[in-house]
Amino acid sequence: MSPRPGFVLEVDGSTPPTLFWHGEGLRLERLPLGSRVLYPPEPLDPLADPAGAIRHALEHPLGGSEPLKVLLRPGMRLVIAFDDVSLPLPPMRRPDNRQLVLEQVLDVAAEAGVDDVVLIAALSLHRRMTEPELRHALGNRIYDAFAPHGLLLQHDAEDPTNLVHLGVTDLGEDVEINRLAAQCDLLVYVNITLVAMDGGHKSVATGLASYRSVRHHHNARTMALSRSFMDQDHSELHSSNWRMGRLIRESGVKVFQIETTLNTDTFPEQFRFLQRREWEWTGADRAAFLAASKGLKSVPERISRSILHGVKSPYRMTSVQAGEVEAVHARTTENVYAQQLVEIEGQADVLTMGLPYVGPYNVNSIMNPILVACLGLGYFFNLYLGKPLVREGGAVIMSHPTPWAFHPGHHPSYIDFFEQVLSETTDPAEIGKYEESFATDPWYVHLYRTGHAYHGAHPFFMWYWCAHALEHLSAVIVVGGDRAAVRRLGFKPASTMADALEMASDVVGPDPSVTHVHAPPLLMAQVS
C-alpha cells in the first residue's frame, strides 16, 4: 500500500482530542469545531538499496559534473565536509546517512590513490560535536581512522589562520570560508536535507564560513525578507547564500555536493502513535500515549530530557544525488517536497503548534526560551510555500513549558542575551546593536573554539529567525510556559489552550479560524 499524502482534517463533534507536543511532554487538546489540523504525509518508501543508490549518484552526477572517481587522482588534497549535529532531528539510527555516503566516498578515494584526506564537520557557528556525536554520525570505522591522526576536524569560524577571504559579492557580502576547504583540490560536501532550507550553496557558504561572512545573511533584514526561508524562490537567505556560493565557485573552489533526503518515519515503535492520526489510534497506541505522557510527567525534567534525547529516529533515505551544487539541490528540493508538502487552502486567524523537546540547536541539550521562540516562530511558522498558514495580524499559539533554563556549556551567550538584551528590547531590528559585542566577547569566543558552546552571536541569529513571524503576527501566546520567561520573550503566557484561544480572539476577533500544525513528523504547507 502506498503511503498516504498529507491531510487537512476539519474538526467536528466526533474528532478526538488532538495530540500536542509540549516540550518533554505530550498533551491532548480539544480544538474548536471547524479548526483545521494539518497532518504530515506518511513516510515515503525508502530506497531499497541505499548503498547502490549512493554508488549510482557518485557515478552519475548531476549538472554536468564528472563522476567522483574521475575527479580524484593521487597526490591531490581532498577535503570532505559534512553536516553537523543539528541534522537530522531527532538523530537517526545508525548507520547515519553521512556514514553511508562517506564510506563510499572514501572507498572511491582510496581506489583512486588519494591519501591526503581531511574530514571537516561544517559547524558554522554551532557548537563543536562531541566524540559520541561524531562516532554516531560517521561510524566508528571512519572516526577511528581519522580522528587519532588529527584528520577529523571541526570548522572553527574564529580561527583567523584557518580562514580565507575569497571576495565580496555584488551586494557587498564578504565571503570567507575554511582555508583547507578553499585551498584543497576537491571539496566534497556530504549533506542531509531535512527541510527545504538545508543544503545547496548554504552547505559551504554557511557551514564552512566565518562570522564575518555569516552575518551578511543571518540578520533581521534578511530574515524578514525571507518569506519563507523554506521557499527558495522567495527567500533572501537563500539568495544571499547562492550569491556567496557562486562566488566560491568562481574563486576556483571545486565542490562536489552529495545530498540525501529522509522520509518522515520519525519515531521508533514505542512512540509510533506520534505519527498516527488520533482517530486511527489503536488500543496499543492509546496505551503507549498514556504510558509515555504519564511516564515523562512523573520523572524529573532532566530524566525526561535524557530519555527523549536518547530517541534515535528510524528515518530512512529516500534519495541521494551528487554533483554540481545547484543541480543537486534542485533535485533534493523536489524530493523534500514530495515527502513533506501538504496543500491547504486559505490562511487562518490563529495558528497553533505543539513544540517538541528538540530543535536544531539543542541536541543533547536544553531547549531554552530563545530556542523555543526560534523553533516556533523561526521554523514551524516558516514551513510554508506561498503564504503563511496564519494571516497577517493573526496570532500564533505555541504549547511548550518554556523553562527559564539554559545549558551553561552549550548556550552561555544565550543566558546573557536573555538577561541583558531581551530585557532591553525584543525587536529583532533593534537587537543588532548588541550583536558585535557578543560576537567578539573573548569568553564566548574561547568557549566556542575550545568547548562545546554556540558562537556568541548565535542567540541573535535565533531571534532574527523570528523576525518575519514577529512582523507578521499581532500576538504570540505560549500555553503552559514559565510565565516570567514567556514575558521576557515578549509573548503572552496562557494556562490552557482554551485561555490562549480566548486571548487570541481579543486580538483577531471573535470565533477565529484555527489551523493546527500536527508536527513533528515534519511537513511543509503549500498555502493557496
Binding site: 556549556g409 546573557d416 538577561e419 541583558q420 559585542s437 573573548p442 569568553w443 568557549l447
Partner: protein, 454 residues
Amino acid sequence: MKALVFERNLARFAASRVVSSLAGSGKGVSVAPLRLTDLEAPALRGPGWHRVRPRLAGICGSDLATIDGHSSRYFEDLVSFPFVPGHEIVGVIEESFGANGAIASSALAPGARVVIESVIGCIPRGIDPPCSACAQGRSGGCERVGFGHISPGLQIGYCADTGGGWSNAGLVAHETQLHAVPDELSDEEAVMIEPTACAVHAAIRAEVNPGDTVAVLGAGTLGLTTVAALRSLTEPGALFVGAKHPHQRRLAEELGADTAVPPAQLGRAVRRQSRSLAVSERSHQLTGGADVVVDCVGSAESVTEALSIVRPRGRLVLVGMPGNIRIDLAPLWHRELILTGAYAYGTEELADGTRRTFDLAMEVVARCRLGRLVSARYPLDRFEEALAHAGAAGRRGAVKIVFDLRRAPTGRSDPSTGTTRPAIRVASKPALSLPRRRTRVLTTRPRTRKEATP
C-alpha cells in the same frame, strides 16, 4: 517617657539568634533583650552638649543584627549596656548646655532641627588631645572609642550614657555631632542623611577612577544610598547593582545604576562589561572583572561573590557590616586585591579640598530625593511590627523603616501641622553624676496598637 532599651542578657540574645535564624530577621524581637520601658532623659554631659528629642529614627541593618543576635563579638567591648538603639536620627534640640552656660551657636539653639553624627569620637569623650584620626576630623576612625568620660560605645545608639534614637525621652549629643537641617529638607529626607553619609564615605573610599566599572552588591538602604553617592560623587563608566527584589532594581536604576539585575546575574553582567573570561566553564570566578566592587550586604555569600567579580588588583569595599563569616581568601591573595572597609563618616578629602561627610550627604539626599526610601513609619509602641517589617523590608517592597516619634506624649501641639513641638528649655548646669541602669522594665508587650503612619 518611653524608650526601647537593649540589655545585656546572653540567654535572650541566644534565643533571639535562634528565632531570627528560623523565622527571619526581626522576628526574634519577642525574645530579644529589648524592652519598651519608661525612661528618664539622659543628663547633659557638660558644655557643648545638647538634649535632642528624636522626630524620626531609622532602623538600620546593624540594629537588626544586634537584635537578631547576629552581631559580631568584636563589638562586645565597644558598647555599653543598657543602651537605647537608634543612630539614624532627625530630631529637635530640646535643651542645651552651651559653653559658659550660653548657647554655643544659634544654628544649634533649642528648637533647631538637627541630624546627628552618631559616632562618638574623642571630642565628645572629652579626650584632649584627640587621637590623630579625630584631629583630622575622621571621627569614624577614632582610636579612643572605649575611653574618656563616656561609657564605651561606637555610636549614639550603642552607648549607655547618651541614649539613642528609639526613644521619646531624647538623647544627648555633643555639638560637634550635630548638623542643623535646612528647612527645605523634610524629616524623611533628614533621617536618610546619616545612612547616606555612610554611603558617601564608602563611595569616596572606593576611589573610583573615571570610567571604572563598579559593581554594588545589595540594594537595601545602604546599597541604594551608595549607588546615589557613587553616581553623585564619582564618574564610573558602568555602574552595576545586584538587587534581589524588583523594587530595589527599579530604585537602583532611578538613582543612577546603569544596570540593576538579580544577584545571580551580576557576575555575568560584570563579565560582559569587563570583557573578562571565567576561570572555567563551571566557575563563577572571573579572570578580570570590575575595577571596584562595593559590598553592601556583608554576608559570606556576598563577600565571596565580590571576590569573584573584582579584577586583579581591583578594590573591594566592605560597607555592609560583616559578622563572623567564613570565606576563602585565596582570590584576595592570588589577585592582589585591595580589601577595605568603609565605616561611618567624618571629613572627606576631595580633589578640591575637605568636606564634612554629612554636608556631602545632605547634598546627595536633596539631589536624589532620598526621602522616598522611607517606606513606613511606626510609633514606638509597635516596635515588634516595625522590626519585623524592617527585617523583611526587601520582600515586602520596602526600603527604610523608621520610628515616628513626632507624636510624643509631651510637648504642645502645633495646630498648623498637627505635629508636636518640643518644650524648650536651657539647662543652667551640667549633670553631676552619670547614673547607669536607671531604666525600669514595665512591660514586654506594647499596651496599645496604633496604625503606622503611612
